[in-house]
Symmetry: C2
């Protein structure tokens, strides 16, 4: 029988027994009852099974628990809960690795487009892809549409809304959608290019389907979403009901990336985003405004692109303060199946079209 296998790194206080902490996790995440209140049959079948518990350096221990799939069912929501629901409220527990059974891979499904599919939509069969963001909030829809046109003329492949552009009065969603999609379509028509505009559809439950309908009607092929804000399953919903290419933004996820407590970034922004349906996953690149190491970034890249039976690979999308001058180096390091996301470093140059063209040429030569 297939099982879900989770590797944790425990950090134990002086008065904490690693064995007891391991048992607590196995019970807390399943039956949520003390051992003495659980029948031997359920203790054997449903409670997580400790497969390994071994000391690492210092106060740390490696713990491997396997879970019967009867504890998950087939739903992403309950899977998230089983992985880190209640233990998020404890301390010193970090999920370092997950081995996905085929049944859950199939149930969650992964990207609809994947790397090859998104390349086809963009008509860019090989080489690095370039993305930029429309901002800042406070501008009108018309001004953002003008930026969109400039990026498209400069050869940016994907032009996305900044993830903080929602439905504020300066550039309401519907108006921004129309201006930006018209702008990009008009440039494409003249240039023969194939840039795509991805509106930010992040919204509440009642509003999200309306935003997606509107994006469909406007002719968009992909969308941006703050996946942890909406709940991760929104990706599956968008994939299954609307068929858009999906670029997922990591807003709100950072709290899980604590050194001693949480979930490893490559599992959230790699495995989970990909399995839920992200075709591209944005993460804060090393050397920018955020603190990821290059090793973390490469672990995310690997999680997005590695072989998983029946699951298409997704595109790493490093961003968050990357300098245009360093972009070619990052492409060399991360490989061509990467979307380079650069915003501020283009805006700082003033002429968006010229700055974009120069960047597009620089990374195409890598």
């Amino acid at each position: 029988m297939e099982r879900l296998i989770v590797t944790y790194r425990l950090s134990c206080e002086a008065d904490e027994s690693p064995r007891q902490k391991a048992l607590d996790i196995a019970y807390e995440q399943t039956v949520e009852l003390p051992e003495q209140a659980v029948s031997p049959e359920l203790a054997e079948r449903i409670v997580g099974r400790i497969e390994e518990l071994s000391p690492l350096s210092g106060d740390r221990h490696k713990l491997v628990i396997s879970y019967c799939l009867d504890a998950v069912g087939d739903e992403l929501t309950q899977c998230l809960n089983l992985l880190f629901g209640n233990i998020s409220l404890k301390a010193g527990i970090r999920i370092d690795a997950i081995e996905w059974p085929a049944r859950l891979l199939q149930a969650f499904g992964g990207p609809a487009h994947g790397i090859a599919g998104l390349r086809e939509l963009l008509n860019v069969p090989s080489g690095p892809l370039l993305c930029s963001a429309l901002k800042p909030m406070g501008l009108s829809a018309q001004a953002l549409g003008d930026y969109c046109a400039a990026f498209a003329r400069g050869g940016v492949h994907i032009i996305k809304d900044d993830h903080g552009l929602a439905n504020q009065p300066d550039a309401p969603f519907q108006e921004r959608l129309e201006r930006c999609q018209e702008a990009v379509a008009s440039v494409n028509a003249r240039s023969g290019g194939n840039s795509l505009y991805f509106p930010n559809v992040t919204a509440g439950y009642s509003e999200l389907p309306k935003r997606l309908d509107a994006a469909k009607r406007a002719g968009c092929r992909g969308v941006l979403i703050n996946a942890w804000v909406t709940g991760l399953d929104a990706l599956r919903y968008i994939r299954d009901e609307f068929g858009f290419a999906i670029m997922a933004h990591p807003a709100l996820t950072g709290a899980y990336f604590q050194p001693a407590h949480g979930i490893a970034p490559q599992l959230v922004l790699g495995d989970l985003f990909r399995l839920a349906g992200a075709d591209a996953s944005i993460y804060p690149n090393s050397g920018g405004r955020f603190g990821f190491t290059v090793e973390t970034c490469e672990a995310i890249n690997d999680a997005l692109r590695r072989d998983l039976p029946g699951i298409k690979p997704a595109l790493p999308t490093p961003g968050g303060g990357m300098d245009v001058r360093r972009a070619p180096d990052w492409v060399r390091r991360y490989g061509p199946d990467t979307i380079v996301l650069i915003g501020g470093s283009l805006y700082r140059q003033g002429d968006l079209e010229a700055a974009s063209r120069q960047l597009a040429e620089a990374i195409a030569q890598v």
Copy 2:
């Protein structure tokens, strides 16, 4: 003009300037551009305004930023993003307090039922309320239904699914819903009591409306949901589209409750859960299996019950390993507008009906 006022506690590294860190937050959470790329008009109007920056003890600083509501719009999703979206990926930033402008209070709306409304549904006009959880996963729907009946006979007011019961094969949602709702209705009919069964409706976007429809058809009056797993706005959706009383579970939220980085528990499980529509908010009580101090619990209680213009108060629901023997003390401490959530300590006693009755009598006498 009303503004959203957020108080942060910064923890600064030796090489970090508190003033620069404050400015970074003000820009990161709004325009997401470097200062030199933002026009003076937008810097003044849209970028967060630093209202106070003052040293606390050690490496800590108090920071107050006010935000123009044009940066939020009226949506809970963008509000969450503005509060902690990108800065979740940084370090040493903790939100300690939020002052809510009337416009956002009105836009989010808060509980539909609140304390008085939930008491009316339960026909318990005063005194502490008692809740227990159906578990463990692995039992059949029939077995869980039998537990439900025993709790109802014992006088438990709200009998909820354990938050890990989703749609697993041992007790699929629909079957469990029917068995448990029938069980509680049948006991109520015989006893003249008014216990309510709250099924756990946590599910993905396509499935959630079906679960809610089913719960409505079965005659349920309230539901349980893992609000951070589904995305917080699910509460508003359930409130507005289905009218259920909502009990919100804190699964996955714990990662935000780090000492130096995150969001204070009373803001997530108090303010945010309440504003999104929770009539009752479950949190891990002090002295149980989790690490909240009694001060944190009281801060959550206060956030749920305090006066907020136009927003009904919600019921604190301390749980997570509370011992029946200590329950009266907690009621005395937290006051009668509290739902005491006790599971394991009843299951350990074997006879659920007798154990529940004894507990119900003990807390009624406080």
